[in-house]
């Protein structure tokens, strides 16, 4: 073999060995969380007003990823608080996140714009319906020392069997198992929906997509800063379903009784315990109330009347029993102010709820 040939062989062999060694070390050290905290947001570009979530990254300038540290690091809550700021963290689903709303028309943005200083509201809502997902978010949010947590829930996020359906829950299996163990949650820690990465999955090749997502999140930060866009909107969407099927069931449950045991109230309790001295308010978020066909049987596509009515009673009783402040906003937004589903609101609906919530916080939130 010629000298050049030997050189090529040696270079290739050394490169391979080095790559294997670094990749193995990567799998042993688990650096993804630490890497997620490295962020250009709040440094080179402004923090995002809501958590990263994007169905069409190229037009949203935003993407969905599962690295909670990276998600929070890209959020404006990760910036140092202003002196004397009263930090309110809004936790909830896509309606809190502001699906089909520009970032400056979400509930959090509207309250902040109203000038009620030192009140500063942070939108930590995240699409998908599961209070276990909300609990994960709350755990991350507590690092940023909120003064008040407002947890917006709806019945659809409470069925026990739905708790592990959210992709972000499934892809944060270790964290979820930690919550299950610490707070004695009823979800099964060995549930196959929780994705347990193999050793290979934790190597550099195995984590290549997650690593690429981290880089893309930073790059989209430039376009977020340049445009203020974090969600693209479809040219057309259908309004919430008005004419409904005369179906009385709710996730297989039949009238007349909705058992409290079938709801993940244990997760709400875990949230209360996790927050410690930080007050947690539970808000039953507004729903679309249909007046169309079968509206005597169902409120909307999600909820049969019997189940939803009982849920409100159960939630009210649970909050009273546990000393948790409870606000029931179920009918605070008129039907015409819902956008494309029974829980997503139009800008007008969002403004109504924002005004309502702001007044409640200023009245009872002990805002200094």
């Amino acid at each position: 073999m010629s000298e050049t040939g030997r050189l090529i062989r040696n270079v290739l062999l050394k490169a391979l060995l080095l790559f294997l060694a670094v990749s193995g070390l990567f799998a042993l050290v688990h650096p993804m969380a630490a890497l997620g905290r490295l962020s250009i947001y709040n440094e080179l570009v402004p923090g995002r007003e809501r958590l990263p979530y994007g169905e069409h990254p190229q037009s949203d300038y935003n993407l969905s990823l599962f690295n909670l540290d990276a998600m929070l690091a890209s959020h404006e809550i990760a910036a140092p608080p202003a002196p004397g700021e009263f930090r309110v963290a809004l936790i909830g689903d896509s309606s809190t996140w502001g699906y089909l709303l520009p970032p400056d028309q979400t509930m959090a943005a509207l309250i902040n714009r109203s000038g009620a200083e030192p009140l500063r509201v942070y939108n930590l809502g995240y699409p998908t319906l599961s209070v276990t997902k909300d609990l994960l978010m709350m755990q991350s949010a507590l690092r940023y020392q909120p003064d008040l947590i407002v947890w917006l829930v709806t019945l659809e996020s409470l069925p026990q069997e739905k708790q592990l359906d959210s992709p972000i829950v499934q892809n944060n299996a270790d964290a979820v198992r930690g919550l299950i163990a610490r707070y004695g949650l009823r979800s099964n820690a060995a549930d196959p929906r929780l994705i347990t990465p193999t050793f290979w999955d934790q190597t550099i090749p195995g984590q290549r997509r997650d690593l690429a997502d981290l880089v893309r999140l930073q790059l989209y930060g430039f376009l977020w800063a340049a445009t203020g866009v974090d969600q693209s909107f479809p040219a057309h969407y259908d309004p919430p379903q008005k004419d409904l099927d005369p179906d009385v069931s709710f996730h297989g449950r039949m009238p007349p009784t909705l058992s409290p045991d079938s709801l993940a109230l244990d997760v709400l309790n875990a949230g209360r315990e996790m927050a410690g001295n930080v007050p947690v308010w539970i808000v039953n978020e507004p729903i679309y109330v249909s007046t169309g066909r079968s509206s005597d049987i169902r409120y909307n596509f999600f909820y049969p009347r019997w189940a939803y009515d009982q849920y409100r009673q159960i939630l009210d009783a649970w909050c009273r029993d546990h000393g948790v402040p409870y606000l029931d906003a179920w009918d605070a937004v008129p039907a015409e102010d819902f956008s494309n589903s029974a829980i997503h609101r139009t800008p007008q609906g969002e403004a109504l709820l924002a005004g309502w919530l702001e007044a409640a916080i200023l009245k009872d939130g002990n805002v200094r």
Partner: protein
């Protein structure tokens, strides 16, 4: 070219490099198969099989017109005898069989459930394929019969330019898509210009036009069908160039040298550099580069400059990365393909930029459009030099713009550069003496060069505003925003 394509091509290139006796056959076969492998999937049924087949058919037709031996050179219609070559169809029968057999073999993959590995969708049934090959054979035979006529090469040029015009003009492409959809029994309501994305047609066309034109002027070397087909659809260069010349390509193809360690190293270096440029730098910049959407959404001048610079570097790294990969693969196979880029953004004037950006395209247009045009402008009435330069440069650059697509924006991009080249030409005439004086003052000379380089780069970057955006409206808005106006 995807990463998987590159890996596959790298293996074939290495094999061809270390096995010189099989290199010709391997290169041809790989090039033919690559046409199907790289062709994007299309919504018109079977079109993604027929377009690569048409690329082969066009090349065969051009070869027949261009290289087939003249049997009777006494006709008054004939160009001088020495312009023709001692090659006939019978001597290339083996290659004809390979071509037909390969197309049939690709079609047969349909019946083996293997099509997904090679073609973007299932090939048509054997009946239509055989019918298509029969039509192609009749066409080739017909052209063979008339190839001695003077009008065949000009006619072929017109046909290729016609296809080019259809593909590059949205309205025409949509009309063609509509016809093809109707023929395939599909809804014409969904017809779109994007329905006809023909892998590598641009570069294929440049090569065909080059040989057809050189045939007319009698400058072609001898060439077998196999050699011409390999040149025409050479797989490293079919998707993004460079545009090689046949007289430079043939000696490499005929050479029997095997892969040396030096070529292996140099080629590998180019391939790795190309992959890094294309898939790491360019793809990263693509996320933040100027687009039609961001052009409408950005309101600050600073951010507009940011995304415009990102676009400028993205287009350079993407294109030059592809060329690096092509050159590296070529090097492994023993082909010294021509360079296409030479640090274009570091040139100190626009003429130097065009001598270092997409060099083979610029050379092609210089040879086949600019030089003939300026000769024609000068010859009858001795037009003033500045008029000849102005008309020549504007026409050439607008044509290069329209090559990217027949739109006002591409035309204006060409015009932008045409005017820039003319202004530079006049400026360099005017300032020649003054710049020469700077030779004795090195600091001033350096400052002048730095300023000129910056100004040239800015001019090119601003030109990308026309190129990157789909409409005059959005380009106009971006120009206003770049300079602090609300627009």
């Amino acid at each position: 070219m995807t990463f998987v394509n590159i890996l596959g091509f790298a293996m074939i290139s290495l094999l061809a490099g270390v096995w010189p006796r099989a290199r010709g056959g391997l290169t041809l076969l790989a090039s033919l198969l690559a046409l199907y492998w790289m062709q994007p999937a299309l919504s018109i049924r079977y079109l993604d099989f027929w377009l690569p087949t048409a690329s082969i058919g066009i090349s065969a037709c051009v070869w027949v017109i261009t290289f087939r031996r003249k049997e009777n050179s006494n006709s008054a219609e004939q160009p001088p005898k020495e312009f023709f070559h001692r090659i006939d169809l019978r001597g290339n029968f083996g290659t004809v069989l390979i071509l037909l057999g390969m197309i049939l073999a690709v079609a047969l993959l349909r019946y083996l459930n293997l099509a997904a590995y090679l073609t973007p969708s299932t090939p048509p049934e054997l009946g239509p394929v055989i019918a298509g090959l029969l039509i192609l054979s009749i066409l080739v035979a017909g052209l063979s019969a008339v190839s001695k006529r003077r009008w065949t090469a000009p006619l072929a040029i017109l046909v290729i330019l016609g296809i080019f015009a259809v593909l590059k003009t949205d309205a025409l492409a949509q009309a063609a898509a509509s016809i093809l959809r109707r023929t395939a029994g599909q809804s014409t309501a969904l017809a779109s210009a994007m329905d006809i994305r023909w892998l590598g047609f641009s570069y294929l066309a440049f090569r065909q036009l080059h040989v057809l034109r050189d045939r007319m002027t009698g400058r072609l070397p001898e060439c077998t069908l196999r050699e011409f087909m390999t040149y025409s659809v050479f797989f490293p260069a079919i998707a993004s160039g460079p545009i090689d010349r046949i007289e430079r390509f043939l000696p490499d193809l005929r050479s029997q040298t095997s892969l040396s360690a030096e070529s292996l190293w140099n080629g590998g270096e180019r391939i790795i550099a190309g992959i890094f440029k294309k898939f790491v730098i360019a793809d990263t910049l693509a996320i933040v580069a100027l687009s039609a959407a961001s052009a409408a959404q950005i309101h600050s001048a600073l951010w507009m400059w940011f995304v415009l610079y990102a676009y400028a570097f993205r287009i350079y790294f993407d294109f030059s990365g592809s060329i690096d990969i092509a050159l590296g693969l070529g090097r492994w196979m023993g082909f010294a393909l021509p360079e296409n880029f030479n640090r274009p953004y570091l040139q100190s004037n626009l003429t130097a930029f065009w001598n270092s950006w997409h060099m083979t395209l610029a050379q092609w247009f210089r040879s086949y459009f600019f030089n003939p045009l300026t000769r024609a402008l000068r010859s009858p009435r001795k037009a003033p030099v500045w008029i000849v330069i102005l008309v020549g440069q504007l026409a050439t650059m607008v044509l290069i713009g329209l090559w990217h697509g027949v739109t006002w924006n591409f035309a204006l991009w060409g015009l932008w550069h045409g005017v820039g080249l003319f202004v530079h030409n006049r400026w360099s005439e005017w300032s020649r003496g003054r710049v020469a004086e700077l030779e004795s003052r090195p600091v001033l000379k350096k400052a002048y060069t730095a300023l000129a380089t910056f100004a040239t780069f800015q001019f090119v970057v601003l030109g990308w505003v026309w190129f990157a955006l789909p409409s005059l409206d959005s380009s106009g808005r971006v120009f206003l925003r770049l300079f602090g106006f609300s627009g």
